[in-house]
């Protein structure tokens, strides 16, 4: 199995591609396909990626770094909270076949994700292998299981 930092980084790339595919479907007016792709993306990022980070990775980082971790993990948790609302709003825009609102939301979400992912990849992921007692094997396995589920 790949190291945990690589697994998480690759999951970012996979999720970015899913979001792009959803946006492409919206631009073509393929609304049912767009709804399916966005739900696949939402499930992967909210129930998979973010859930693993919030339940396992952030607490491990906080244990390792102590007080100095607080501002980073607070910011990342806040980012997740904001993103969950944006994903609901994007799903509503698709349901209402409102491409203009979807595109506005997409632009904001992609900006948030770009900055959020860079912070995680530069400041959080590099220390996970030492912060987690199993070097991230269980967390990595959960992410890989989600990826396999999405492909099946």
């Amino acid at each position: 199995m790949e190291p945990i930092d690589q697994i998480m980084q690759h999951d970012h790339e996979r999720l970015d591609q899913l979001l792009e595919q959803g946006a492409e479907a919206v631009s073509q007016g393929a609304w049912p396909e767009a709804a399916h792709l966005l739900e696949t993306f939402r499930h992967g990022i909210v129930d998979g990626h973010m859930a693993v980070e919030e339940s396992t990775l952030f607490p491990a980082f906080e244990r390792q770094k102590g007080d100095e971790a607080q501002s980073l993990t607070a910011l990342l948790r806040k980012g997740h909270q904001d993103l969950r609302i944006f994903f609901e709003e994007m799903a509503e825009a698709i349901q209402e076949q409102d491409a203009e609102t979807f595109d506005d939301l997409l632009s904001t979400v992609q900006t948030i994700l770009k900055q959020h992912d860079a912070k995680e990849e530069n400041e959080l992921y590099p220390i996970l292998a030492t912060a987690l007692t199993d070097h991230g094997e269980a967390a990595g396995r959960r992410i890989l299981d989600f990826e396999a589920e999405a492909e099946s």
């Binding site: 501002s71 607070a74 910011l75 904001d82 609302i85 944006f86 506005d104 904001t108 900006t111 900055q115």
Partner: protein, 148 residues
């Protein structure tokens, strides 16, 4: 007004204890904006989108989205209601939020569906100020206000 880490905090406003302040108006609408520490954390704002007048929003949904070179995020409404007015000046110049977040740079006025309970999920006075000081510490914010 109190000040903490350079951030101005007004005791008479209501706060969601995150980004948003709320001010009750005489006509029953509630004006919404973002706080001084929130505008500092966002950086120099370059883009603002505000929901159109007449839009209905459920509690927690975004009445506006803001973007700077280093940050993007939403402005959630703490109660359900209809957008009655929006600050058109911000669409042209979102940087006004960095200059005067509590006055000229209000974002929207929203008429709550249930006026009696519209402020149930926001705090005011000393309780709010103490919670916002914790917020400022948590995110390590040191406020700076732009003059132009």
């Amino acid at each position: 007004m109190s000040e903490y880490h350079g951030c101005e905090l007004l005791e008479d406003l209501f706060y969601d204890l995150d980004y948003v302040w709320v001010r009750p108006e005489e006509d029953g609408t509630l004006t919404i904006g973002i706080t001084d520490p929130a505008q500092t954390m966002s950086g120099r704002l370059q883009k603002a989108r505000i929901k159109k007048v007449g839009t209905h929003l459920e509690a927690g949904r975004h009445v506006a989205t803001l973007e700077s070179g280093k940050w993007a995020g939403g402005v959630p409404v703490p109660f359900a209601g209809e957008v009655m007015d929006r600050n058109e000046k911000l669409l042209e110049d979102p940087h006004l939020i960095n200059i005067d977040p509590y006055n000229d740079a209000w974002i929207a006025r929203v008429k709550p569906d249930d006026p009696a309970h519209a402020l149930d999920n926001v705090s005011t006075g000393n309780v709010a100020i103490a919670a916002l000081e914790e917020w400022i510490k948590r995110y390590g914010v040191q406020c700076m206000r732009c003059s132009e």
